[in-house]
């Protein structure tokens, strides 16, 4: 069995799923994400990412959220 790999939401491939492992951003960013329901342990699927460092769209439960590129790179995901 191979170790589960970690990557950032920005680097993750479209269509892959995983669990939020931790976030490397500041307190304000963590608060805003938490309010939207994105927190440690949440299982998410990456729906898309836009070119030219555009936002990443993810889905969890019945919720879809678009996250700016730089912020997406501060969210670390443990891939399935």
């Amino acid at each position: 069995m191979s170790e589960k790999t970690e990557t950032t939401l920005g680097m993750m491939r479209t269509g892959d799923s995983g669990v939020v492992s931790h976030m490397t951003g500041g307190r304000n960013m963590i608060n805003r994400l938490d309010a939207l329901g994105i927190r440690q342990g949440k299982r998410i699927i990456k729906l898309s990412s836009m070119f030219m460092k555009g936002p990443v769209t993810i889905k969890f439960d019945e919720v879809q959220v678009a996250i700016g590129y730089r912020m997406a790179n501060k969210i670390v995901i443990k891939l399935d």
Partner: protein, 567 residues
Amino acid sequence: MKILLMGNPNVGKSVIFSRLTGIQVIASNYPGTTINYTQGFMTIGQEKAEIIDVPGTYTLEPTSEVEQIALNMLNTGDVVINVIDATKLERNLYLTLQLLERNIPVIIALNMWDDTKHRGINIDVEKLKTYLGVPIVPTVALTGQGIKELAESIPKAVSADFPVSTRDSRWTSIGNIIDHVQAITHRHHTWLERLGDASVKPISGGVIALVVLAISFIVIRFIGEGLIRYVFDPVFQNLWMPVLMRISDFIGGGLLHDIIIGRIIGGDISFLESFGLLSSGLYVPFAMVLPYIVSFYLVLGLLEDTGYLPRLAVLMDSVMHRFGLHGYAIIPALLGFGCNVPAVMATRILESKKEQFIAATLISIAIPCAALQAMIMGMVGSHGFQYVIIVYGTLLVVWIILGVILKYMVKGYSPELLIEIPPYRLPPWRTVLQKLRIRSYGFLVEAIPIILGAIIVVNILYSLHVFDAIANITAPVVTGILGLPKDAVTALVVGFLRKDVALGLMAPLALSSKQLVIGSVFLAMSFPCIATFVVLLRQLGFVNMLKSFVIMISAALITGGLLNIIL
């Protein structure tokens, strides 16, 4: 009694508000439609209760200006109706738990109840009641289902008095509740969901955006021109003209004739050029502008209610970052094509002061409102559609250049995009038509008094030769830089009142195509109309308004001057 409607953004608070109070408010399918509170009244038993539609918030620990407003309102209320999107129970319960920790009676509306069935979500309402200890009513605000029961249950609202908790323990409790009350069965993706996914992917999303915008433009023009050509113009020419002729003969001549009927041009009354109360004063708002207001707001309402706009924001995000904004700024910008007033107010959905300043300034400068656009279509368009394209093209280039400059000049930070994307919905006709009615009516009651007032004042000032004096003073700028006849200053001054009348005033000047293009661009860019000026002042404060004003005037003069040289 003061009842607060609170909940996450885009859960249907405004629709419930409208159902409970009978007051028609604007509701759309994107987070942040309500940025200021709306109040209304309903009767409960014998008592008259005040209801407040509070802007949406995810948490009572505010992370934005709008959430701070929501929190401040909570401290003034007697009862909270917590509106929950039943399809996103887990996330919505976070705010609910925070509300239940407050010492205030709460009742829950489990809205979008019909959607849970389509999505294979099964919620045990009775069990949820025992966990939360407050009344819960499933509702479908759009159809009105459950609203009566909700209203009747308001007196049963109770304070749950949950102990004040921490974030982690709230999420733990929510996890526990969800495990026991909600079951999800697997289901296949609907075509709307597939379309939703496709519209946020780079290539398919770009194609969809182009198709949507092209269709929108074609439909707006088709309906607008259709209404003018087959309804309003014939009514004015065939029915109203004979009446006007009789009144004109009756009055004879003089200043009174100029004010009421307007000047006789080549032996005839001209609806556009005569500039009297009963000629241009009615023809401009009803036959030139209203058709485009109706067609624009119909299409905008459909776009708002399908849930497409947040997806457009995702697509435009990297482009908007070049201007110190993020993708969500596309929503105020689109609203600006209708009227700059709600557009400037909507800049409040942007988080930082920097973004708000840039967005408000760019909108005032480079986004012509529907009234001005209708006049551009009518007057510039009659010289050839290529001139209309030059006007829009110039404004687009101005937006881009000025946006890049402002990004580096304005201090402050530009936050990242972080938005929830609502599911696509088939637009409910009720809310689409309701919005169309509110907005069209709003145009008429706000525009007509100003248009008629402007006509009276301009006619009196003409007869006193006031404009001749002004024209001579401003001639170096108006003629020297912009290449317009010196009399055009009247139109530019009136532009501060209303842009549609202002462009109308250029009609009798027999301008060349080039001059019309410059006049239109200058009117769009220079000072905002008085209504926009007031909201800009309120939104930005005096100092920033002044800065914005200087930017507007300099940009308008530079652009007008350049056009005069290039064209």
